[in-house]
């Protein structure tokens, strides 16, 4: 990217009468990009922070949710159902315990369910008996859909006719599939807000912008040049996070490269919206020490409430409307749908529309409060 700009730069026409706004914009983008790459805080916020969270959750989750399923004593263990359950990687079969022990574990929710498999008399099919526990309803629910999914599987269908009503797409949903889009969204939010606010405030305070105004450069070139650099940097960061997540932690990319492109398009939209907050903050902050507190007012609630770490469904109902008002919620939502469910951009048009509305609102305020001098 840098090389590209450099080449276009040196080939562009110059001299009296041939002033090129493009050259000026690209020169600024290049300078800004270099500056961002050398700024420790930008690199920490955009890359290190999200990667640390991904590492922590990547290892913590051990690749996904685990469901402990007790095997009822006396159950057949060498059957295709058990083999399939084992293969999902989500389900840990607990064996070699007495009925009494299992009952206690089940009561406490330490075991999420019990399973009992028997070959049907005079038949190649199996009969599966599952006991769930109210102490672990969520995981019981997951197990139910996993089972449904297994029975829907072609290899078992002809032999097991009893449970085939399920149509759930049981793609393995790992912790990383939830955490990574959230971290990506947060990375974009902090880069957009903190980075933009700091840069424009400091350029204004150190009279760098004033010195720029003594050159023929246009104001729009300054904003666009900065924007190109920041978007470029954020996208490189996003790509980095996605690739590390995919190759080291098995982050699901349903359609491969196409999914990555879709995610980057969403990331671009996100960073542009979030940069608007940065423009506003740079306008209302009186000095650099005011930037972090004001920025945190914008970023922290979104960090906590936009489904970065937990699904917003887990929040109390009075909190959910607040979550549903925040732009990061929609970016995270769209990212997850695109990455994990394999939806196209048109399928997340609702989320995109909400982001665009936020963008319009934010930039309408930014135009009013942004200060050049």
């Amino acid at each position: 990217m840098q090389k590209d700009i450099h080449e276009r730069n040196s080939n562009s026409p110059s001299g009296p009468g041939g002033y090129s706004n493009l050259t000026a914009t690209l020169a600024l983008a290049k300078a800004s990009f270099r500056s961002i790459m050398r700024s420790p805080s930008a690199v920490v916020f955009t890359l290190a922070f999200p990667l640390i969270f991904i590492l922590v959750f990547g290892f913590l989750g051990g690749g996904g949710t685990r469901i402990d399923v007790g095997v009822t004593p006396g159950s057949d263990v060498n059957n295709p159902v058990m083999v399939m359950l084992d293969k999902t990687g989500m389900i840990r079969l607990v064996k070699d315990k007495s009925k009494a022990e299992f009952d206690k574990l089940l009561e406490k929710g330490n075991v999420d369910a019990m399973i009992d498999v028997h070959r049907k008399v005079n038949s190649a099919a199996y009969s599966v008996n599952v006991v769930y526990t109210s102490a672990s309803r969520d995981k019981g629910g997951i197990l139910k859909s996993v089972l449904n999914n297994i029975f829907y599987d072609k290899t078992l269908k002809p032999t097991v006719a009893e449970i085939k009503e399920s149509t759930i797409t049981g793609r393995e949903y790992k912790t990383i599939d939830f955490i990574l889009p959230g971290q990506l969204g947060f990375s974009l939010l902090s880069t957009g807000v903190f980075g933009t606010a700091f840069v424009f405030l400091s350029l204004r305070q150190t009279l760098v912008i004033k010195r720029f105004f003594a050159t023929p450069v246009k104001r729009s070139s300054i904003v666009i040049g900065e924007g190109i650099a920041r978007i470029g940097f954020a996208l490189i960061g996003a790509l980095f996070i996605i690739l590390i997540g995919h190759f080291f932690f098995g982050f699901t990319l349903v359609h491969g490269a196409l999914t990555v492109v879709n995610m980057l398009i969403l990331a671009t939209l996100g960073i542009i919206v979030f940069m608007g907050f940065g423009f506003i903050i740079s306008g209302i902050a009186k000095n650099e020490s005011m930037v972090p507190p004001i920025s945190n007012i914008v970023t922290l609630p979104q960090f906590l409430l936009s489904g970065t770490f937990f699904s917003i469904e887990a929040f109390p109902s009075w909190l959910q409307p607040i979550s549903r008002a925040l732009p990061l919620t929609y970016l995270n939502d769209a990212m997850r749908k695109v990455a994990f469910e394999g939806l196209g951009l048109w399928d997340v048009k609702f989320q995109i529309m909400i982001l665009l509305l936020w963008g319009i609102g934010i930039y309408a305020v930014a135009v009013k409060v942004f200060k050049w001098e």
Binding site: S14, T23, A24, L28, S32, L207, K210, P216
Partner: protein, 254 residues
């Protein structure tokens, strides 16, 4: 210096802020190829006047023509032919000198070799240094280098020598004279009268937003002397700065 063709003409310049008149009816001309000094105490309106000519600030009234261009109608044309050094301006963070020069080259649309620009102000050894890491004199020389990128007809220097040690100051004078000799008109503000006397072809004294005197330094001094002014102390053939330079050496060290 005898061409006397005006390159800047300022007529009845007025700048009012809400409740305060910073500049009240300034008129003067700057001739081509001269070093013109705007002198006066802090708050006299020197910087405001410069920034209006530089198209960085709006004026309340008056007329300003810079090399045939009007500040009202052709500010973009003026920006192309002037170089500006601002008082206490910083530079883009985290970039080294070469990269900063490249940035300005892009902003001006100028095709220059960054290293040659640094050589002009004797900073080629600092090409990879950050602006922040430069000494006071080096910072000022770098600022002047950025004013030369678009090969301007006029450069404006706002207190370029404030805070410099005597060697760095004299070194900067040499640089400014070199630039003028290469054909560039220089407009400078300063608080140091010895500097104005040595450097400027003509000076204007600004006080409370008005010009109270405008002439060559020689004529202004002669006028005062002929009015019967006498220094209290007999002037010696050298002053303490000459002693300083003599003792610590002419070459500047950084």
């Amino acid at each position: 210096m005898e061409t006397k063709k005006a390159i800047i003409s300022v007529k009845n310049l007025v700048k009012k802020y809400d409740d305060f008149v910073a500049v009240q009816g300034l008129s003067f001309e700057v001739y081509e190829h001269e070093i013109f000094g705007l002198l006066g105490p802090n708050g006299a309106g020197k910087t405001t006047t410069l920034e209006i000519i530089e198209t960085l600030r709006d004026k309340t009234s008056g007329e300003i023509i810079v090399d045939g261009f009007s500040v009202d109608k052709q500010p973009q044309d003026i920006k192309q032919i002037i170089g500006v050094q601002l008082q206490a301006a910083g530079y883009y963070p985290n970039l080294n000198l070469i990269e900063l020069i490249e940035l300005f080259a892009g902003l001006y649309g100028a095709n220059i070799k960054p290293m040659e620009m640094l050589e002009k102000v004797n900073l080629q050894d600092k090409a990879k240094a950050k602006y922040k890491a430069l000494s006071g004199g080096q910072k000022q020389r770098f600022s002047i280098a950025t004013t030369l990128i678009n090969q301007p007809k006029i450069i404006f220097l706002d207190e370029p020598t404030t805070g410099l040690d005597p060697q760095a100051r004299r070194n900067l004078w040499d640089l400014i004279i070199e630039i003028r000799n290469a054909g560039t008109t220089v407009v400078i503000t300063t608080h140091y009268m010895d500097e104005a006397e040595q450097l400027c072809d003509r000076v204007a004294f600004v006080e409370r937003g008005q010009i109270i005197a405008l002439d060559t330094p020689d004529n202004l001094i002669d006028k005062l002397v002929s009015s019967g002014f006498e220094r209290k102390k007999e002037v010696k053939k050298a002053n303490l700065e000459d002693v300083f330079i003599n003792l610590t050496g002419q070459e500047w060290r950084e």
